[in-house]
């Protein structure tokens, strides 16, 4: 699986992906990889602000979140502290100004921007790019 469990080599290459989309409503500029590297998730309306959904992206479970200011984020859905595929079911909020999701199992907080656990910066989950195309949320390859 592409999420990491704290082993340093794996985390570095997956956290550098910015997942922000400050203006989801207008259609994004065409992506060079469009049509091949993006997976349709759901209509944007289906995403309740500050709540996640889980999508299947290339066989991997990916949690997709929409914050109150309409930014979109995607993290691998597996919580590395419990190895359960549950992050999409966590509560979304902010800690110290960083948008986070709290794992519903043991309540560690993961930055939506970087995937890093606030309680242990060695633990990082993979992040994915997100965009909205014609009102449909899409997740790219992490």
């Amino acid at each position: 699986m592409s999420h990491t469990d704290g082993s340093p080599g794996m985390s570095l290459d997956v956290v550098a992906q910015p997942a922000k989309d400050p203006q989801p409503k207008p259609v994004d500029p065409p992506d060079p990889a469009s049509g091949t590297g993006w997976t349709e998730v759901c209509p944007l309306d289906r995403l309740q602000p500050e709540r996640g959904v889980c999508a299947l992206v290339d066989g991997e479970p990916v949690a997709v979140f929409r914050t109150h200011d309409d930014r979109l984020f995607a993290l691998h859905n597996v919580d590395p502290f419990s190895n359960a595929s549950v992050l999409s079911r966590g509560i979304v909020g902010d800690l110290g100004g960083t948008p986070v999701v709290a794992s519903p199992l043991y309540k560690q907080h993961f930055s939506l921007e970087s995937g890093t656990a606030l309680e242990d910066s060695d633990v990082v989950v993979a992040t994915y790019p997100v965009r909205v195309v014609n009102g449909t949320v899409e997740v790219g390859r992490g």
Partner: protein, 857 residues
């Protein structure tokens, strides 16, 4: 083994037994307690609460120990010093190695003509109070028009307590005090004047500077009390509380030396002049002086307990500080309150508008605090008392001036300052307990130092000690709200806001987190109602509430249908069984008399619940911080011993409170008789049937720190019982901290369970109508959450494995058979693998493998 005989089982005698048993780790002593009263030791300090709603049982001090024999109603009538035996009122002789006299005192009744009539009482024991209560009930029953009066002779501490008791019994109290002011021992003239004014405003009539000349029966059967200034008072009852005298008759008979003003003479070790005989408490005169407060008595009890176990305790100086709330008025007095030290200066602040009076007595150089008096507001008492004998941190006036705020820094207190005078706990001892890591919370501090466990007045100071040691006791809910949960609840209640966004924008910062969001969701559920998945609320819910099921460690959920009172029919069992079988769920009976089904995938939950709802079941709220179950025994339906219908009540209560969101989970139980098979006392609210009604116990729990619930009221009829529980639950919902169970919540209330009883049974805060209304709204507004989800396609949409591939099950979820049980694949850290060695199951877990179930070979 040696025998110590204790004569008297009052608070001090009881404290001695406790102190000895605590120290006597080698079980060297057998303890025989011979008590005059027909009930074990009780908290005499709380006597006036007995006329309120406390029962005798509430006041009874704990203790059960095989090495302690307690003989009630068996006073000692003679002592044979040479033969080391005592003779009891039942004619028994009991031999002793050591004898401890703790006979206390008897009320002093001045020789007023007419004092022997019916209707004249003293104020000392529970029996006295029972008599007083009967007389008051008789008087109020036949009163006709108008309130009947009662006269209290004596305006000291006990006299005002007695006046409060009369007031609670429905009589109008007069207080007659010979001295020119109330509480002459504790307060000065200025304080006394304010005290008289404040209690007069509460309906007491105060007569100072006069004595009682006679008591006579009038022609209507009432009493006429004539005062020395000629005033005549009509009264139904008269209570003498004009002081106490040591109960030293027994000691005098055998020739033990007594003090000039009575009391068995003892030295600093509390030894009398006879070998192997000790005296403690109000009966003892330490170097000639007697003490009528509980704290010095406790100190003497500890001295003797220490001496008998090889220690070197001494009773040196007594702390005569007093702080109490009389009729709601704070009064405190400490140290040299009357400025008798030569050269002492008095600094006084009298604010008749605010109704406060403060006086500090300082040394002639104004550097050292010698004593003080506080009336109307005694909130600085603990801190000020800590400075007794120490150098003051500033100008004395600044310490009592209202603008000073926190001018009296707790940090400035010397280590020797006594914080808990009942148990002689110093600031140093508390700091030690905190810095050693033994205590980081107020309850822990109480447990390991005993501070705050007797009268409780220093409990607020304990929080200050923690703060001064750097232990954060912030009440802020989280980084988004500086308010405590209770404060936020008030805000939501008063403003009527119904969304988290509006609340956090107006009263918080940021966007919230997994702490404040579910807390606010819970408040909105009780205040605004509606479904937990309606609108924005859905985003606030913890995963359990969001999916109305309990998340387990592999991301699957467990399902618990409600079985009110633990009842289930054969058809119901079959329906549950077929669901478990068809969905492959692991099934287990819970401690709350329900059935829990494990291993449901999120996308299976609606189908499972469709079957359950069709079979007549509803959500059991096992996932919520809400009412879980009301456990019951079979009661009068089947049991030979049951005295009430415990199942009927349990079902009714469970249906009444189902779905109520609260700061933490709530559990209940109903037992049909005193055998208590439903374990009601381990519940947040437990009910035990009596021959005539129900006893209600509040604040119990199992779990990490098991607690027995405490009795709040006895023999209630069902209507009163339910009303009391309604108010208890709603008051808890309003004021508890997040994730605070009812036991620590009650403990955190200033005044504890007594305060709770005042609030919910006597409406002391005037909020009962609002609590009742809120509960009525909850009961009327209840709807099954799961049925509502099944009827709403928008809500059902959430229950999917993948939003873009709904038919694909989550591939990370796998199950294996482990010793015949269906469990999540993948070992949990620390999961034992050697249970198979017990021969109880099949084969140890092998991750991912499928192992056929079968009987052990």
């Amino acid at each position: 083994m040696k025998t110590v005989v204790v004569v008297g089982h009052g608070m001090v005698g009881h404290r001695f037994v406790e102190g000895l048993r605590r120290r006597d780790t080698g079980d060297a002593w057998r303890v025989v307690v011979l008590a005059q009263e027909n009930r074990p030791a009780y908290d005499r300090v709380a006597l006036s609460s007995y006329v309120g709603d406390a029962s005798a049982e509430d006041l009874t001090l704990d203790g059960h120990d095989p090495l302690v024999e307690l003989h009630l109603d068996e006073p000692v009538v003679g002592i044979d010093l040479a033969g080391r035996t005592v003779r009891t009122g039942k004619g028994r002789d009991v031999a002793y190695d050591e004898l401890v006299l703790a006979t206390g005192s008897v009320p002093f009744v001045p020789p007023v003509p007419g004092r022997d009539q019916d209707g004249v009482f003293v104020y000392r024991t529970l029996d006295d109070l029972d008599g007083l209560r009967a007389a008051a009930e008789e008087a109020t029953a036949h009163a006709g028009a108008g309130r009947r009066a009662g006269v209290v002779v004596g305006g000291g501490l006990l006299g005002l307590e007695a006046a409060n008791a009369l007031r609670q019994l429905g009589l109008s109290p007069h207080v007659v005090e010979m001295a020119p002011r109330l509480m002459p021992v504790q307060v000065d003239e200025g304080g006394g004047a304010l005290l008289a004014r404040l209690v007069s405003e509460l309906g007491l009539r105060v007569h100072t500077g006069v004595s009682t000349s006679s008591i006579a029966r009038d022609h209507r059967g009432g009493l006429t009390v004539t005062l020395s200034d000629g005033t005549e008072l009509d009264a139904s009852v008269v209570v003498f509380s004009a002081g106490i005298r040591p109960a030293d008759a027994l000691a005098r008979e055998v020739g033990l030396e007594v003090g000039e003003r009575g009391g068995v003479l003892v030295d600093e070790r509390c030894r009398t002049y006879a070998e192997h005989v000790w005296a403690i408490g109000e009966v003892a005169a330490v170097k000639g002086r007697t003490y009528g407060l509980v704290a010095p008595g406790y100190a003497m009890a500890e001295v003797v307990a220490e001496r008998l176990t090889g220690g070197e305790g001494r009773f040196t100086e007594a702390d005569l500080s007093t702080k109490l709330k009389l009729l709601g008025v704070d009064v405190a007095s400490f140290g040299d309150a009357h400025a008798t030290t030569p050269g002492a200066l008095e600094v006084t602040l009298n604010d008749p508008v605010a109704g406060t009076y403060s006086k500090l007595v300082v040394s002639d150089d104004a550097q050292t605090l010698l004593g003080g008096v506080l009336v109307g507001d005694a909130s600085d008492y603990e801190t000020l008392r800590g400075f007794l004998g120490a150098t003051l941190p500033g100008d004395p006036m600044s310490l009592i001036a209202p603008s000073s705020g926190e001018a009296v820094g707790f940090e400035a207190l010397p280590d020797g300052a006594q914080i808990c005078s009942c148990n002689a706990v110093t600031k140093g001892a508390l700091v030690e307990a905190i810095s050693s890591g033994e205590a980081t919370t107020v309850p822990q501090l109480k447990a390991c130092t005993r501070a705050g466990t007797t009268c409780g007045s220093c409990v607020p100071t304990l929080a200050k000690v923690l703060t001064s040691c750097g232990v954060e006791v912030s009440k802020a809910l989280c980084e988004h709200f500086v308010q405590s949960r209770a404060e936020l609840y008030e805000i939501v209640m008063v403003t009527g806001l119904t969304t988290f966004s509006a609340i956090v924008e107006q009263y918080g910062t940021g966007r919230g987190c997994d702490v404040c969001k579910p807390a606010v969701a819970s408040m909105l559920a009780t205040l605004a109602g509606g479904h937990v998945l309606d609108g924005e609320s859905a985003a606030l819910q913890d995963t359990n509430d969001h999916f109305l099921a309990n998340l387990q460690r592999n991301g699957t959920y467990s399902v618990v249908p409600r079985l009110p009172g633990g009842e289930v029919t054969g058809e119901g069992l079959i329906a549950i069984g077929s669901v478990a079988k068809d969905f492959g769920l692991y099934t287990k009976i819970t401690g709350g008399q329900r059935i829990d089904m494990f291993g449901a995938r999120v996308e299976q939950l609606p189908a499972i619940w469709k079957r359950l709802v069709d079979a007549g079941f509803e959500s059991g709220h096992a996932y919520g911080k809400s009412l879980r179950t009301v456990k019951s025994c079979v009661g009068t339906d089947w049991c030979r011993y049951g005295v009430q219908d415990s199942v009927g009540l349990a079902v009714a209560l469970e249906l009444r409170y189902r779905g109520l969101r609260s700061p933490h989970k709530l559990k209940s139980g109903v037992s049909g008789c005193a055998r208590e098979c439903a374990e009601a006392r381990s519940k947040d609210f437990g009910i035990i049937a009596t021959e005539t009604g129900w006893n209600l116990y509040l604040g119990g729990n199992g779990g990490f720190t098991p607690r027995h619930a405490e009795l709040i009221a006895s023999d209630l009829d069902t209507t009163t019982l339910v009303r009391t529980i309604d108010r208890f639950l709603m008051f808890y919902v309003r004021t508890a901290d997040r994730l605070q169970r009812t036991a620590p919540w009650i403990e955190s209330l200033e005044g504890g369970i007594d305060h709770l009883r005042d609030v919910i049974m006597s409406d002391s805060l005037g909020i009962c109508a609002s609590l009742d209304e809120q509960m009525a709204r909850h009961v009327a507004g209840y709807a099954d959450e799961w049925a509502a989800v099944l009827d709403d396609p928008d809500k059902l949409e959430r229950f999917t494995s993948f939003v873009n591939a709904p038919g694909v099950p989550d591939p990370t979820i796998e199950f294996v058979d482990h010793l015949g049980r269906r469990v999540p694949a993948g070992m949990k850290d620390g999961q034992p693998t050697d249970l198979a060695a017990l021969g109880l199951g099949g084969v140890p877990i092998t991750d991912g493998a499928r192992i056929p179930m079968g009987a052990p070979a």
